[in-house]
C-alpha cells in the first residue's frame, strides 16, 4: 500500500506544483496545501483516472486530506 501513498502524493504534487516532501498523509488540501475548490475537483479527477475509480460526488466531498484519499483508494480500488 506504500505504492498508493506514493502515487497519490505524486498526483497532488503535480496538480498543486508543490514538492513531494512537503506533502504528508495529514496534509489538508485547502488548509495545508493552498488548494481551492476547483483544485480539489481536479485532484479527485486525477485520482479517479490513475486508479481507474469513479468516486461518487457524495464521497468526493468527504475526501479532504491526503490520508482521506489514500484510505478511499485502498478500500475501493480494484485489486
Amino acid at each position: 500500500m506504500a505504492d498508493v501513498r506514493k502515487k497519490v502524493i505524486a498526483i497532488i504534487a503535480e496538480q498543486l506544483a508543490k514538492p513531494e516532501d512537503s506533502i504528508s498523509e495529514s496534509s489538508h488540501f485547502v488548509d495545508d496545501l493552498g488548494a481551492d475548490s476547483l483544485d480539489t475537483v481536479e485532484i479527485i479527477m486525477a485520482i479517479e483516472e490513475a486508479f481507474s475509480l469513479e468516486i461518487p460526488e457524495s464521497e468526493q466531498e468527504k475526501i479532504r486530506t491526503v490520508g482521506d484519499a489514500i484510505a478511499y483508494i485502498e478500500k475501493h480500488a480494484k485489486a
Partner: protein, 417 residues
C-alpha cells in the same frame, strides 16, 4: 436633483506588450523603427494541408517570469500574454514601487479584452475529450474572454471596474477607449486596459483562411503583410498582447508619473453592412474617425499621423484610405499614415492595444514606424503611407484606427502632453 458631470483628462502612464516584434515595448519600438518583420513560418502545428502557413508568432516568451507554475495551466496562452504585458505596464508606470491604499485600489480597474479568447484551450480539450467526468474544472475559467481582466485584477489587487470587451479586431481600441471614459467621467481613477489574443492553431488559421482573409505568400513570410501595396493578398495573423495603464491626469501629475500621451478622443461606430465586408465607401471608418475628432474637439488638420487599421487585405486597405480622404479632405495630401501590421502582423483583439502603444510612442517621440513591403503602392491607397523607412511628424495629435468583423469600429485620438 441635477448632476453636473465634469470630464476629466486621461493619460497613458505605463505600457506593456508581448508581440512578434518584441517581448517588451522598447524592443518592439526599436524593431519597428528599423522596419523588421516578425512574421515567419508557423511552427506550432503541421501546416502541410493549410493554405496559409505563416503567422506572427511570439518567440521566447517565458510565462514563469509572470505567473506561478500552478496557475499557468489554469490559463489559456492569451492570458499568459496578457499577464506578461500587464506586468511590463505595471512596472513601467511605477506601481511596483508604490503601495496603493485600499481606497486607491477600489478605483483602479481592469479592462482587457480579447477578440476570441481561449480557442487553443477549446481545441485541446475537445480533441482529448473523454467524457463529462474528465472535463477539467479549469476549462471554462482558462478560456473565457474576460479572464485576462479577471486574472490581472486578482494579481494586482485591483478592485475597481473589472470588465472586458470582445469586438473582434477593434477590441483593443475599444477597451482602451471605454476604460478612458470610465476615468474621464469619474467611475474610476486608474485602469489597466488593452487586448490579448492567441489563436495560431488549426482552428484559428483554418477558420480565417476559409474566409480567404489570410495571405498565402507562404514562401516569403516577411514580405506577406504588405498593406497598401498592389500585390497584397490578405492579412497575416499574429498573436500577443498590448496593455496600457490609464490614469486621471491630475493624479498622474501629482505622483510625478511619466506620461506618454493623453487619450484625447474616442469614437465608435457600426458599419451595418456585412459580417466581414466594410461598407462600400468605408463609411463606418469615416464615421468612427469623425466621432473621435469630435470627441477630442479638434479639427482634422490638427492630426499629424494615423496608425491605420491597414491589415493588408485588398478591400480593407482601399476603403480605409478612401475614408481618410473623405474625413481629412485636402489635409489627406499632407497627413502621414502607416500600418505597423506590415511588421507585427494582425494581433486581432490585441491589435488595438499594441497599436495604441505605437501611436503613443509616435506622439511622444515624433517618429513614425514605416509600412514595409510597399514595393508598388496601390494608386487607390494614394496617401503618404511612410513606405519602407521610418518617418517623422510634427503635430500635437495622432490617431489609431481599429476595425472588426461584424462592422465594429473604434478610433482613438492621442495628444502630446
Amino acid at each position: 436633483m441635477t448632476r453636473t458631470v465634469q470630464r476629466r483628462r486621461v493619460v497613458i502612464t505605463g505600457m506593456g506588450s508581448v508581440n512578434p516584434c518584441g517581448l517588451t515595448v522598447p524592443e518592439t519600438w526599436n524593431n519597428l523603427l528599423a522596419g523588421k518583420s516578425g512574421i515567419s513560418t508557423i511552427d506550432r502545428f503541421d501546416v502541410t494541408d493549410f493554405a496559409c502557413k505563416i503567422a506572427g508568432q511570439v518567440k521566447g516568451f517565458n510565462p514563469d517570469l509572470f505567473i506561478d507554475k500552478k496557475e499557468q495551466k489554469k490559463m489559456d496562452i492569451f492570458i499568459h500574454y496578457a499577464l506578461g504585458a500587464a506586468h511590463e505596464a505595471w512596472v513601467d508606470a511605477g506601481f511596483d514601487k508604490v503601495e496603493l491604499s485600499k481606497a486607491e485600489r477600489e478605483v483602479f480597474g481592469t479592462y482587457i479584452g480579447s477578440g476570441i479568447g481561449g480557442l487553443s484551450t477549446i481545441w485541446d480539450e475537445a480533441n482529448g475529450y473523454r467524457g463529462p467526468r474528465r472535463t477539467s474544472p479549469f476549462f471554462i475559467p482558462s478560456l473565457i474572454v474576460n479572464l485576462a481582466s479577471g486574472q490581472a485584477s486578482i494579481k494586482y489587487g485591483l478592485q475597481g471596474p473589472n470588465s472586458a470587451v470582445a469586438t473582434a479586431c477593434a477590441t483593443g481600441a475599444h477597451a482602451i477607449g471605454d476604460a478612458a471614459r470610465l476615468i474621464a467621467f469619474g467611475y474610476a481613477d486608474r485602469m489597466m486596459a488593452g487586448g490579448s489574443d492567441s489563436v495560431i492553431n488549426q482552428l484559428g488559421v483554418g477558420g480565417f483562411a476559409a474566409m480567404r482573409a489570410l495571405s498565402t505568400r507562404n514562401d516569403e513570410p516577411e514580405r506577406a503583410s504588405r498593406p497598401f501595396d498592389v500585390d497584397r493578398d490578405g492579412f497575416v495573423m499574429a498573436e500577443g498582447a498590448g496593455i496600457v495603464i490609464l490614469e486621471e491626469y491630475e493624479l498622474a501629475k501629482a505622483r510625478g508619473a511619466k506620461i506618454y500621451a493623453e487619450v484625447a478622443g474616442y469614437g465608435m461606430s457600426g458599419d451595418a453592412n456585412h459580417i466581414t465586408t466594410p461598407a462600400p465607401e468605408g463609411e463606418g471608418g469615416q464615421r468612427v474617425m469623425r466621432a473621435a475628432l469630435k470627441d477630442a474637439d479638434i479639427a482634422p488638420e490638427q492630426v499629424g499621423y494615423v496608425n491605420m487599421h491597414g491589415t493588408s487585405t485588398p478591400v480593407g486597405d482601399k476603403l480605409e484610405c478612401m475614408a481618410i480622404r473623405k474625413v481629412f479632405g485636402d489635409h489627406a495630401n499632407r497627413i502621414k499614415v502607416s500600418s505597423s501590421k506590415s511588421m507585427h502582423g494582425h494581433l486581432l483583439g490585441a491589435a488595438g492595444g499594441l497599436e495604441t502603444i505605437i501611436t503613443a510612442m509616435a506622439v511622444k517621440t515624433g517618429k513614425i514606424p514605416p509600412t514595409i513591403n510597399v514595393d508598388n503602392q496601390d494608386p487607390e491607397c494614394d496617401i503618404d503611407v511612410t513606405a519602407n523607412a521610418a518617418g517623422a511628424f510634427d503635430a500635437e495629435y495622432a490617431m489609431n484606427n481599429g476595425f472588426g468583423f461584424g462592422g465594429t469600429n473604434g478610433c482613438l485620438v492621442l495628444r502630446k502632453v
